[in-house]
Amino acid sequence: MRSAHTLILIGALALASCREEPSVPPAPPIGLDLGLNDVLGARLADYADADPRRAPWPEGLEDSDLSMVQGLLATLAGSNPRYADLARQDLESLGLSGLRPLLQCLDDARKDGKNTAPTRWFIARALGPIPHSQAALALLDLAKLDPDSSVRSMAIYQLGESPLAPDWVVPHLCLRLKYEKDPECHRLLGEVLAKHRNYSFLRAWFDLTRSPDSAISTPIWTSLRNLEAQTGREGSDLAKAWAQGEGLDQPEPSRAFLFEVWTVVSKLSSAHFQLRGVDDARFALSDLGPWLATEIAPALKDSDLYVRLHMGQVLQRHGPRGKAAVPALIEALGDPDLAPQAATTLAAIGERAALQPLLTAAGAGNALDLRTSAVQALGTTAWPESADVLRTALVDASIPGQADLGVHARCSLLQVSPTPEIFDTLLQQLEELAPGKDAAELAFESMLQRRTRAIEPAATADKDWEHWNQMGQRFGARPSVPGLAKRRENRAAWIRENRDRLIEAAAELAASR
């Protein structure tokens, strides 16, 4: 009996030993030490003493009589010009003692259901010369929120005339560029921003100079000529320098400005839920000067993922102006949560220092989201050294779940190493309005645009580019479903018609790099 048991046991053990060992799941990845810390909190604390909202009030200063200020404003807002000049002189002579009564009157005027625009206009005018940041804050508020464009104009103008010359209003005025619809406000926004040597407004000015309405274009032209005289540079040259972040004599931002910058950054943190505020903050920061890249680069290591990611997006919008952040962005390729955005941003900046890190990021073995972004980035930069990595990515895209990688690899190869096969697949993608049609359209667009800058003689390239843009004009006042479909149909048909010539042009362009 004993021997029988032993035999069974030995046999069983022998059979068991033949069975493959259960696979041991891989150990969870060790948390990467990214050296994250609360950069945002530290900066806000550093600059807190410069917060314009906490500017001290002069000791012993007595306020002017509220009823007198109300009376002066009533006279000014009235229609009798005989007394208006006197009232204005009286109001402006109040100086700092008139600040709090004026703010009280402004508050009352806003709550009043009647049309108080003239009163608000005179308050804005009276606040301008008062040397206190509370006056500038009130003006900023009017410039941002007043429903009457004449009041906004006056507030913007006074911010430019303020004896404090507050540079910390710049991010807020930049944000106004996004929402402002009144041409005169745009003109004044530009004039104030130019005083702080911020030239983000030039895009809007150039648009307005093209207005068929001379009442809109003439004042803008005048302001543009004045700016050119002051800076000694052509407007287009200034715009190019601003985009590149080169050849600009930038003033040192005040501590109050830096406090304001980090306050705007805080609106991008995880503490904020609404996306609309987030995009406003991104927009405001994106229009600041090249010095911002140095200031915010440390925030790419903030412990809050939201801050890190949005700083990457801001720098992406800066483009070449953000080149000071390139080393920090290359380092960010090692942060799994930030790496895809870092790749996109590096491409937007376009510094050659990013080539090798991007090639590595686009290689097999990396996370799919990083790889996809790096492949797209290599299409943006169109560096010829990317061809092999992109071709490998295209092959790897046949793995289930990686189709996205293939779409973007093809788009990038059109820029770097185009073949008829790549061209035709992208054209088919556009014609069939298949997933990735937007990427295909963008790829053709990118190729045609780069060609206008690179190919000699440029006449054909320019003509193609112009034709492409004409087909891309919005169908109707706003983008619409039939408009988008029609645009793509037209463009696909045009590409099909010119297929051979455009394949040749794409190859010529790639070879010219």
Partner: protein
């Protein structure tokens, strides 16, 4: 002593035999290379996957209306919700962040169910199943309103629900899942169709339209629109949705289109639209509005039209047309309800 040794040997043998012929080790719940596409879910969950592919969540990146309203996602802040990073990676109830890959899959299985490495990786469910290859751990957050709110409260829908009677715990309590993810008829789990504003049956069930002459001698028609079925405002989702009430004299041809006069616009202003008021009909509320119509003028029809985008456009030019001048809303809006008032 011998019988004790025998029992030990039997136990050992049975264990060894069990190891030989038993189910073997459980498969790794995370496939090699990780979960990289929702298409990986289809193999085991074909029904759920089919429901999702029919849903608007699967079209959040490709829907032409979205692409047009977002200017082909040039408005980059739309990307955050239309191709979000996995919600578990940012946290339920937190603002979502945009992802960089598989955007074309929109709001997909992974966006809601995938867990970050810091939570053990794999995918989560509201129930677990040890036989399922992915062996989802239970995450009750998936069933919470806040989970939907990461995206849907960007346009205030969850706030509207919280202000409604549906959010009060008790008999009348209903949350997102009760209407938009109901339990399937066969009890096999919850629907992943996510029916909502694109489903006219659901839209019709949300509101009741009434019109009447309160006093036959008066030349006024009184219209009321009661939101009795939506757990949020009608319509919800500011900017993107709108509804309009129109009226016309009853035409002789019952199939006739056009001839309408605009009466009332129901919409939430968006961002810089400071010049329009909020006119949404909150949950449980009733909108009441009158219009002049001589009682001697014959029967009139009152209709509620619903729009997935706020703009009416000329079908030929694409130009936006002011809604107040629209006479044929049928061409660019969906009829929700129509009622007739006799003279």
């Amino acid at each position: 002593m011998r019988w004790i040794a025998g029992i030990i040997v039997l136990v050992v043998v049975s264990l060894l035999l069990g190891n030989l012929f038993g189910p073997g080790p459980e498969p790794d719940p995370v496939p090699a290379g990780g979960f990289v596409s929702s298409a990986q879910c289809e193999e085991c969950h074909p029904e759920v996957y089919a429901e999702w592919t029919e849903s608007w969540h699967s079209k959040s990146w490709t829907d032409p209306d979205v692409r047009a309203l977002s200017n082909d996602f040039a408005n980059t802040d739309c990307i955050d919700c239309h191709a979000p990073k996995d919600i578990f990676s940012t946290g339920p109830g937190k603002r979502v962040l945009p992802r960089s890959d598989r955007r074309v899959e929109g709001v997909d299985c992974l966006a809601c169910h995938r867990l970050p490495e810091s939570m053990g990786g794999g995918v989560a469910g509201t129930t677990t199943n040890s036989r399922a290859a992915c062996r989802p751990p239970v995450k009750t957050e998936l069933a919470r309103v806040e989970y939907c709110g990461s995206c849907h409260n960007q346009h205030n829908t969850v706030d509207q629900w919280e202000a409604s009677a549906y959010a009060i715990k008790g008999e009348g309590y209903k949350d997102c899942r009760d209407c938009h993810m109901p339990v399937r008829a066969d009890g096999s789990g919850r629907s992943h169709h996510f029916k909502g504003g694109h489903d006219m049956e659901l839209v019709r069930s949300a509101v009741t339209l009434k019109a009447e002459r309160l006093d036959p001698a008066q030349d006024k028609v009184h219209v009321s629109l009661h939101n009795h079925g939506a757990g949020h405002a009608f319509p919800t989702d500011e900017r993107s949705r709108a509804a309009d009430i129109f009226w016309r004299k009853t035409p002789t041809d019952p199939n006739a289109t056009g001839g309408w006069t605009h009466l009332y616009r129901i919409r939430d202003p968006y961002r810089s639209e400071v010049d329009i008021p909020r006119t949404l009909v909150d949950a449980g509320e009733t909108l009441e509005v009158d219009f002049d119509s001589p009682s001697t003028g014959g029967a009139v029809q009152v209709a509620l039209f619903y729009k997935l985008t706020p703009y009416y456009r000329d079908v030929n030019t694409g130009e936006a047309i002011p809604y107040a001048t629209i006479t044929e809303p049928e061409s660019d809006a969906k009829l929700v309800h129509m009622v007739e008032v006799q003279p």
